[in-house]
């Protein structure tokens, strides 16, 4: 039935192209790194100032000075480079990053994304997400189709404060994949998890989409 977190990450990895510079968000998006197709060269950017993220270090080789944007210890590759935060976001804002994979609390049918605060309840901040959705060429969202209480997260309009307006290109949930060719077109249901029907998806979605 529904895809697992790892299967969602694997589906997101199918959006990668040879030579891409990619920024992965925290959570399920981080798992995408485990699914880069064999033989494909993809360079991962970490917005705290690194191009060329390597795998997690071997036990005993963790370095407090070498972390990703999720504050996890990582390792470097022969081609890795380091730079400061202003330089890092010059790359992001300047359109040099090809693709980003982000989590979301809500997505609207018009491609708006909300993932940084719940007024009066949760106050985390946007981190680099607003810069990423404003500057990266292609925005892939990976999220559960419904919230824990069962309410849809793909909506006619976001109810939470936005991270970006009309920026999302692809939505990958545990039930389905929605894509749109440009920022004026509606999202199209292009895939569903095994055994999940279009009616199942429609029943759990309040956003309008085509199929």
């Amino acid at each position: 039935m529904a895809w697992t977190r790892d299967q969602m990450a694997a589906r997101a990895a199918r959006e990668l192209r040879e030579g891409d510079f990619v920024n992965l968000g925290i959570g399920i998006p981080t798992l995408v790194a485990n699914h880069v197709p064999e033989g494909m060269t993809v360079t991962l950017q970490s917005e705290n100032g690194m191009l060329g993220i390597g795998p997690f270090p071997f036990e005993g080789e963790e370095d407090a000075d070498l972390i990703n944007a999720g504050k996890q210890t990582i390792s470097e590759l022969p081609q890795s480079t380091y730079f400061d935060s202003a330089q890092s976001f010059a790359m992001i804002r300047g359109g040099k990053i090809d693709l980003t994979v982000l989590g979301a609390m809500e997505i609207s049918q018009g491609g708006d994304i909300a993932n940084w605060m719940i007024p009066g309840k949760m106050i985390k901040g946007m981190g680099g997400a607003m810069d990423l959705v404003a500057g990266v060429k292609r925005i892939v969202v990976v999220m559960e189709h419904c919230a824990r209480d069962g309410s849809p997260k793909f909506l006619p309009a976001c109810t939470l404060p936005l991270t970006g307006r009309n920026v999302v290109n692809i939505i990958i949930t545990d039930l389905a994949v929605f894509d749109r060719p440009d920022h004026q077109s509606p999202f199209r249901l292009i895939e569903a998890a095994p055994g999940v029907t279009t009616d199942d998806v429609a029943a759990r979605t309040t956003a309008s989409f085509v199929y």
Binding site: M50, G60, I67, Y82, M126
Partner: protein, 235 residues
């Protein structure tokens, strides 16, 4: 005139006052000027506005100045790791200005570079854009963000020579460069102070013109927030 001071308290002498704006380097617990933050705590300076990407953890880094109630306002992009921050903010004891991470870095860089404002696409159509002038460039909307000039910058480097030229190690560089640039005065702590010529003029990450006072803060125990590893037999 030497830039090198014996310790953090000596280096900050005469620089701290209530209600000042301090820019601090660091990302999470990585590259945080911990010795200097400790000295700010001991000084008792209060009503501070701090511009920093994060606010530390409870009792670590800038989290110490939150617990001691010395911070009146934070300018930050992400504070999700700090319970005391959340508590003070939700009950209205702490003022917060959320600035997107790249916007915050550029506000520091540009402020230090004599650029009082810049237009960016980041935050258009969000709460961040509220009250800010907008402009269309080539048919796209941008918002005006202000550069930050801090009364004092606190940064952490790896090595510096006695002229203040600094190098950073791996991802500990982060906000330390733009924070240093935006300070009217910048005080830096490093793990090692070396003789001029040792770092290599081509290899310097932050020229000494940005660094006014310097201490060696070693030894550091360098905390790790999330220790993630793989097994030796994994590929």
């Amino acid at each position: 005139m030497t830039k090198v001071f014996p310790d953090a308290a000596a280096a900050l002498k005469g620089l701290l006052r209530d209600d000042m704006l301090i820019a601090a380097g660091g990302f999470g617990l990585c590259g945080v000027p911990e010795r200097l933050i400790d000295a700010v705590e001991v000084s008792g300076a209060s009503g501070l506005t701090i511009a920093s990407n994060n606010a530390g953890l409870d009792g670590q880094g800038l989290g110490k100045l939150l617990c001691s109630r010395q911070i009146r306002k934070m300018i930050a992009s992400y504070v999700g790791d700090n319970k005391e921050f959340e508590r003070q903010y939700l009950v209205g004891e702490l003022e917060v200005e959320f600035s997107p991470q790249g916007t915050l870095a550029e506000r520091m860089r540009s402020g230090g570079a004599g650029i009082p404002g810049f237009y960016t696409k980041t935050g258009v159509g969000t709460l961040v854009a509220e009250g800010k002038p907008t402009m269309l460039f080539d048919g796209e909307e941008y918002i005006l963000e202000r550069g930050i000039v801090a009364d004092l910058a606190l940064v952490k480097g790896w090595k510096a020579d006695t002229a203040g030229n600094m190098v950073f190690r791996k991802t500990a560089r982060n906000f330390n460069v733009p924070a240093a640039q935006c300070g009217r005065i910048c005080v830096a702590e490093v793990e090692e102070i070396v003789a001029p010529g040792t770092l290599g003029a081509d290899a310097v990450h932050l020229p000494g013109i940005y660094v006014h006072r310097l201490i060696c803060g070693a030894p550091y125990d360098k905390p790790i927030e999330f220790r993630t590893t793989r097994k030796q037999d994994a590929t």
